[in-house]
Symmetry: C2
DNA sequence: CTCCTTTAGGAAACCGCTTACCTTAATTAT
DNA sequence: ATAATTAAGGTAAGCGGTTTCCTAAAGGAG
C-alpha cells in the first residue's frame, strides 16, 4: 500500500508538499510539481490512510446516526436522506442501532467518543420515563467532547433539534374526523412515545374547539404494537356508547384496530373510522387502506443534516426547526352511520 | 482528554507499561503496579483513542455490513443479529447502504479499505447482469487488502459465503400447491434477483416430479414491486386457461397478486391461491394473510458472523454454509375449486 | 541597487498508542 | 556458587499523515 512517503520519494519532494497537493491546502505550489505529484499518486494507486489522517488532523470526517430501530421505516427512511447528503459533503456515516436499549445507546456514545466522530444525529431511545435522564447525560457527554449534536424525536434543552409538531397532527386528525361528522372519537395513545403528551393535547384541543365533551373513557393507551391496538379497540367497542372513530398513536396500533373491527363484524369505514400516525407500506397494503398522519421524513432528514452542518461549520450552534405533519387520506375514514 | 501518557506520568511508569496493563498483554506486570495504573485511569476518566490504536496496531476492530437497502426487513433483520454478535466480540459495526447502486457499492468499498476495516459482510447489489462483474472486482479488492470477506445473497467463487437454497424453497412452494390439488400454477419471477435461476428451476422440478406439463405461458417476471405483481397477475388471469395458483418471487409481488385478484372479484384462496417468497410484517397484515417461503434470517446472520470470525481468527479461510428455507402456512393458499 | 514581498518547498514535531528490543534484579536450576 | 531463567519495566522507533516554522529564490517597489 503506497503512502504519502512513497510519493514524496518518487517525486523528489517532501511529504509536506505531497500532503499539501493532495489536500488542496492553501499554500502556493508550482503547477508542474502539483501535476507530477498527482500523476505519481495515480500511478501508485494511492489511497490516503483515513486513520492516520484522523489522528493527525483531529477530524474523523465521520458522523454517527443513532436510532432506536433499523427495522422501522420511520427511522431508516430518515437515515437514507441524511446519509445521502452527508456523503455528498464527504462525510462517512455510522449507523448505530440501539434496539431500544438505553444501555446500548450509552455504550454507543462511549464508542463514538473514542472513535472521534465529528457529529451525531440522535433519536433518543426512551422506553421508561427515567430514560430521559440517561439520554440527557449522553448528550452532555458528546457536547463535552466537542462533538456536534442534533436531536430529533424528543425534546431537550441546549441541543439543536428537529421538533415535529405532533400536537398539530393529532389536532388535524381529530378535526378531520369531527368534520366528517364523528362525535364519539377514541384516542389510543402510545405508552412510551417521546411525544406523548402533545398528541393527547392536540386531540383534546380539537374536541374543545368543536365543543365536544371530552370523555376520558374513550382514551386508552397501548404499547405501539399491533396486538395492543387490537385489544384496546375490543375494549373500546364494549362501551355502552362506543366510539365511531379511532385515532391511534401509530400505524401498527391502527392496523390492530382495523383487525379488531373486522373480527367484530364491523365495516370500516362504514361502522368505524380509523386513522393512524406514521405512514409506511403497511398502511397501503391493508384493506381498507389506512388514512394516516404522516411525519415529513424527507424534511426531517434534510433539517437534521442542515443543523448538523451549521454546527460543524461553526455557523450556528443552537437552533430548532419545527416541522408539521400532514394527513394522507385513504379509505379508512368516512362519514359515521346514524345509530339506531 | 487524558492520554496514556498522562497516566504514565502520574503513575511514574512508562507508557509501555500502561499500554500493557490496559490491554492485558501477555507480559509480566506486578499486581500492585497494575492496580495503581487501573486506578489512575479510572480517576482520569481515560478512554483510549481508538484512532491512534488502529493506526499503531493495524487493526481497526471494525466490521462493515454492506447491504442493498436499509428499508427492507430482509436485510435489516439479518443485520441486527450480526451486529449483536459482533458487539459481543468487541467489534464495532459500520452499516453501509448501497441503495441498490453498484457505484455506491464501489465507493463504499474504497472508503472501507481506507478505513482499514477488518472484515466485510457483503450482500452484493446486482441490478443488471453486468453488475456481477463489479461485485467480483470489489470482492477482489477487499481480499487484496487483506480484509476478510463473507458474502450472502449471491454466489461467488473464492469467498466464504452463505448459500440459501431457494431452489428448494421454490420446489417446496410449488409442491405444496400441487399437493393442495393445483395443476395450473403460475410463477412470477423477479427480473433482477441474484438467485433467479434456481427459483425457476425449483418450480419446474416440482412440476416435473408431479408429472405436470410445464407451460411457459404461466411464467412471467416483474421488478419485485407491488405494482409488478399486480400487473403480471392481471395478465395471467386473462389467459384462456388461467392459473389457479400463483408463486411470486417476493412478498411485494405476492401482495400485488392479492390486490389484482380482489380487483377482479376473485376470492383468495377460493378462486386463486397465492404464495410468496420472504416474510415480513406485510405478509401478516394483508387480508388474507400471506403464505410464504421464509428465508432463515437469524441463521443467515449467525452463519455470516461465524464465517467472518473464522477468517479473522485464522481458523478457516474459505467455507460455504448452506441454509434452507421453510414454508409458513397462512391463509392465502387453499384447495382449488373445480372449474365449471 | 537595496529592501520587502511573494512564491515554492523543506524539516521536523506531533497525534496517541503499540511493540520489538533492552536492561536489571530476583529466582531457579545445577 | 555460578549459569540460566524469569519477572518487571524502560526506550524508542514506528503507524501515516498534518502543520508550524523556516529558508531561499524570485519579483516588485522605491
Amino acid at each position: 500500500m503506497a503512502t504519502i512517503y512513497d510519493i514524496a520519494k518518487k517525486a523528489g519532494v517532501s511529504t509536506a508538499t505531497v500532503s499539501r497537493v493532495l489536500n488542496g491546502v492553501n499554500h502556493p505550489i508550482k503547477e508542474e510539481t502539483k501535476q507530477r505529484i498527482l500523476q505519481i499518486a495515480r500511478e501508485l494507486d494511492y489511497r490516503p490512510n483515513v486513520i492516520a489522517k484522523s489522528l493527525a488532523g483531529g477530524k474523523s470526517h465521520t458522523i454517527a446516526l443513532i436510532i432506536p430501530s433499523i427495522t422501522n421505516d420511520f427511522y431508516t427512511q430518515i437515515c437514507e436522506v441524511i446519509e445521502e447528503k452527508l456523503e455528498q459533503k464527504g462525510y462517512h456515516t455510522y449507523l448505530c442501532n440501539t434496539r431500544r436499549s438505553v444501555e446500548k445507546e450509552s455504550r454507543y456514545i462511549e464508542s463514538l467518543i473514542a472513535r472521534k466522530v465529528d457529529g451525531v444525529i440522535f433519536s433518543p431511545t426512551r422506553v421508561k420515563p427515567e430514560d430521559n435522564h440517561v439520554n440527557l447525560k449522553n448528550i452532555e457527554k458528546l457536547k463535552k467532547h466537542g462533538i456536534a449534536v442534533v436531536a430529533f424525536g424528543s425534546q431537550f434543552k441546549g441541543v439543536s433539534q428537529i421538533y415535529i409538531n405532533t400536537y398539530q397532527g393529532a389536532f388535524d386528525a381529530t378535526s378531520y374526523l369531527i368534520n366528517l361528522g364523528h362525535k364519539r372519537i377514541s384516542f389510543i395513545d402510545g405508552l412510551s412515545a417521546g411525544t406523548r403528551k402533545s398528541r393527547r393535547r392536540g386531540y383534546i384541543k380539537a374536541l374543545e374547539e368543536a365543543q365536544i365533551n371530552f370523555d376520558p373513557s374513550l382514551v386508552t393507551a397501548g404499547n405501539l404494537r399491533m396486538e395492543d391496538g387490537y385489544s384496546c379497540t375490543l375494549e373500546l367497542l364494549k362501551l355502552k356508547n362506543p366510539p365511531t372513530a379511532i385515532l391511534a398513536a401509530n400505524n401498527l396500533m391502527a392496523i390492530g384496530a382495523l383487525k379488531a373491527a373486522r373480527d367484530k363484524g364491523l365495516h370500516v369505514p362504514g361502522d368505524l373510522s380509523v386513522i393512524g400516525f406514521d405512514d409506511s407500506l403497511l398502511s397501503m397494503v391493508v384493506d381498507p387502506t389506512l388514512t394516516v398522519i404522516k411525519q415529513p421524513l424527507k424534511e426531517i432528514g434534510e433539517a437534521a443534516f442542515k443543523l448538523l452542518i451549521n454546527q460543524l461549520e461553526g455557523k450556528q450552534k443552537l437552533e430548532t426547526i419545527q416541522l408539521n405533519t400532514y394527513i394522507i387520506k385513504r379509505e379508512s375514514c368516512g362519514i359515521p352511520k346514524k345509530r339506531g
